[in-house]
């Protein structure tokens, strides 16, 4: 099977994740969409690793996972902190930047 198919799949998943970030309002769902995009990127890395015949891509994908884990921890802590002060998990409610 042509490994390029994985790349097409990754592109689709990435696009879906991006749309999710834009259209969903629940901060946690937005976060999950970001995770989806990261996973799609990881899939391309693994695929390229296979195409190139070395393991560098996999190592970078591993690093991506670690960074994603950090990001989830901090991001969710931020969501909790915001929820605690505003009683809302909607990212539209945190729109004080324009003021």
């Amino acid at each position: 099977m042509n490994p390029y198919n994985y790349l097409y799949l990754a592109a689709l998943l990435f696009t879906i994740g991006a749309v999710g970030v834009v259209v969903r309002r629940n901060a946690i769902v937005v976060f999950m969409c970001i995770e989806l995009m990261l996973n799609a990127a990881n899939l391309t890395l693994v695929t390229f690793s296979r195409l190139n015949g070395n393991l560098n891509g996999q190592v970078v994908a591993f690093f991506t996972m670690v960074v994603a884990a950090c990001e989830v921890v901090v991001g969710l802590a931020i969501i909790v902190a915001i929820y605690r002060s505003r009683r809302s998990a909607s990212i539209d409610d945190a729109s004080l930047l324009k003021r």
Partner: protein, 629 residues
Amino acid sequence: MVTSSSLVYLIGLPLFGSLFLLLMGRKADKWGHLLATAMSAGSFALGLAHFFAMTDRPTEERALTQVLFSWIKVGDFNVDAALLLDQLSISFVLLITGVGTLIHIYSISYMATDPNRRRFFAYLNLFVASMLLLVLGNSYLNLYVGWEGVGLASYLLIGFWNQKPAYATASKKAFVMNRVGDMGLSFAIMIAFATMGTVSFEGVKESVERAGTPALTAMGIMLLIAAAGKSAQFPLQAWLGDAMAGPTPVSALIHAATMVTAGVYLIVRSNFVFDAAPTAQLMVVIVGAITLIFGAVIGMAKDDIKKALAASTMSQIGYMILASGLGPAGYAYAIMHLLTHGFFKASMFLGAGSVMHGMNDEVNMRKYGGLRKFMPITFITFGLGYLAILGVPPFAGFYSKDMIIETALNAGGAKGIILGSLTLIGAAITAFYMTRVMLLTFTGKPRWDENAHPHESPALMWIPMVILSIGSVTSGLLLYRNDTFKNWLAPLFHDHAHHEELVPPIVVSALALTMVAIGVAIALMKYHFKEVAPVAPEDVSWATRFVRNDLGQDSLNETLFMKPGQAITRGLVAMDETVIDGAVRGVGSMAIESGSTLRRTQTGYVRAYAALIFVGALALLTAIWVVTQ
């Protein structure tokens, strides 16, 4: 104790006193004046120890140098913060700390009721420290630090009662006019650095031959401007009269005895420059001659006792500057007159302060009269100072002033005759206005205000006056006898020329005394045998008006400098407002306009920004698509 390493304490003691009192604040109010006086006295004691140690050493080893630290080190250019104590410096050190200590003591009583007495003493100590640095610095740059320090202290003390706007203005005037002189000093330092590559006195002295006459002339003129600014000489003389706004001890110490003589010190210290630049030397003489007449003429019309004394100071410093411009023959006499003047003028200023103290701070001499009976000590000390400044033998002024007149006459040719006659005329005018001061203040009928209760000042005030008046009686003879002072300073100057006596000394003395007698006689006619009006008469000739108006010095400065300056400033302000501000405002309003347009894209919603990023990524992909086509 009297080794070179103790030089720094001469400055350090009063500097510590000043900083300590300023930092301690109100806590030191009770004992601050005592500390300051002790610091000044300590410095005087150390100075005396140094003086006696110096007299014990042979002539060649008398100068002491203490290097404190390496101050500026750039390539070959190296300036140390170093102190130099030689025969010239020690004369000043003793004058500054001696008179300074006496005036500290006087001020304890004079300022007793002032709530800010501690601050006053802190400034006085600051002045003493700066003045000592000025005379002890071994290079023009070190001198410059002290030079600015005394300027600052003078500014602070003139404006000490700055709650009165006129006094604050007077201090600003003094400060600004001093800046003009300071410019001259900084230019002189730059010239020295540019042409000789050194700014120390020793270095400049050694490289005088290399520098060439034009550079030396320029440097000399710049030094003269500096001296004119600090010593209130023509054309920078206008500030001294207004400087009398400060408390009287300040006028005595700073604006009579010490700071204003810094210009003379500068010129005498730079003797090697002026000896090599005859043009600059001639200008020194001219400035001195103009000022000595100028000050004396102003002094004739002053009713304010302190301003009359200030005009007299200006005139007397004119004598010193003139003497220092006469070359090696005059340097020693300039400094000698400076020292005797320090005694008698400080004594008279303190006397004036004592009179004011007893007369509710009245300064108008037309409101005095007949105070002799009420203030006997003040009368006697003031009178001794009066006899000294007149040059009556054997008082101090006789020796020092006569020597200047004699040197001027001996300058030879037309120069000698012109200078000689100017100094003699100056002596006559001095005799006139000083007699006027004496008569208006101490003799005649009382013309006081109803609520005046004249009384003698307390002991703390009259003791310094007595000591100073003793100095003004004896100092002249002590310094003159056997040419003591001239020989003392001689190693510093290159006096190779043989001075022939064109006019015998006895003739000079006779001439001078005749002129003095004429001046006294005119004053007696006008103010002793005639009734003196308590208010200055208005129906006077234009000449009197002109003199009362300080010979138009302020109007001249206004027309020449202030008005054009204001015009330039107004023009610049207009340009600033239209061109520069216009451009700035244009940029600002452009930013506001574009900002308010762009603001609409900012909704504050994270998702909107995410959508923008998404669209941006799409644009990027499109670009890649187009590029890889």
